[in-house]
């Protein structure tokens, strides 16, 4: 397995961890009954659980792009540069969670941008 694919697998596990965190925090705030119901009226989480939810949703966007980057890298051939990008992405996305929950401004945005740039560079490296 290439380092980029290992980073992708770990990023997927991070997503599972974020989902578990969201589930626990959300149910603590809104109640388990609200979570089990069909959520017709929507559940508006506030405070830290709301931030955890938004961080989770943001990683869906980042992870799908990183999946493309990791697949293309695996196909085009891994290099030290693309491997470093993969690990930088993973580190950024791990840091993104506390950055959102604890309101690290403007670091959350910079951490987000770091992950996005690392992903973009991986894709460009696979194409060139």
């Amino acid at each position: 397995m290439t380092p980029e694919l290992t980073a992708l697998a770990l990023a997927a596990l991070l997503q599972v961890a974020q989902l578990a965190l969201y589930s626990v925090a959300g149910q603590l705030q809104a109640g388990t009954r609200a979570a089990l119901k069909p959520r017709d009226d929507g559940i508006q989480l506030t405070g830290k659980p709301g931030r955890i939810h938004r961080a989770l949703n943001n990683h869906f966007e980042g992870l799908i792009l990183f999946a493309i980057a990791a697949l293309l890298s695996a196909h085009a051939g891994s290099s030290a540069f693309t491997a470093a990008c993969g690990w930088i992405y993973l580190a950024a996305r791990i840091l993104y969670v506390p950055a959102y929950v604890f309101g690290w401004v403007p670091w959350r945005s910079l951490i987000w941008l770091t992950g996005l740039v690392a992903t973009t560079l991986m894709i460009l490296a696979a194409l060139l």
Binding site: T46, G47, I64, L71, L72, L116
Partner: protein
């Protein structure tokens, strides 16, 4: 690189365009500080910004099946003119989807979306037979 993988790379750049455009509109609405803040409470966003955020969410949803389609075609070695064409039809549809949402092209946005979805399923079905 096969045409299908090249189309996958192109799709990543459409995603980046969607992120960039919706970020620009968001910053226009709530400023750099509002964007960097943890965004607690309701965000009061313009119609254009809300449309682009929905377009990005839809794009994220549709990339998933497309990645599956490309991986299946590659791993089964069913690449051919049909899958190459379908992959690039998907790219064209998803490119048009952004302005179609932002500028409210009705009913074209829905048709463009359907074309992208059908292209994806064409590839998946082709990989099975």
């Amino acid at each position: 690189m096969t045409p299908e993988l090249a189309a996958l790379a192109a799709t990543a750049f459409i995603h980046l365009a969607a992120v960039g455009w919706s970020q620009k509109c968001l910053t226009d609405d709530i400023g750099k500080e509002g964007n960097a803040a943890p965004r607690d409470g309701e965000l009061n966003l313009s119609t254009r910004t809300n449309r682009l955020r929905r377009a990005l969410a839809n794009h994220t949803e549709n990339i998933g099946p497309f990645i599956i389609a490309v991986v299946l075609v590659e791993l089964t070695g069913t690449n051919g003119p049909l899958t190459a064409m379908a992959a690039w039809v998907f790219v064209a549809a998803r490119t048009l989807y952004l302005p179609a949402y932002a500028f409210g092209w009705v009913p074209w946005r829905s048709l463009i979306y359907t074309v992208g979805l059908l292209a994806t399923f064409t590839m998946i079905v082709r990989s099975l037979f």
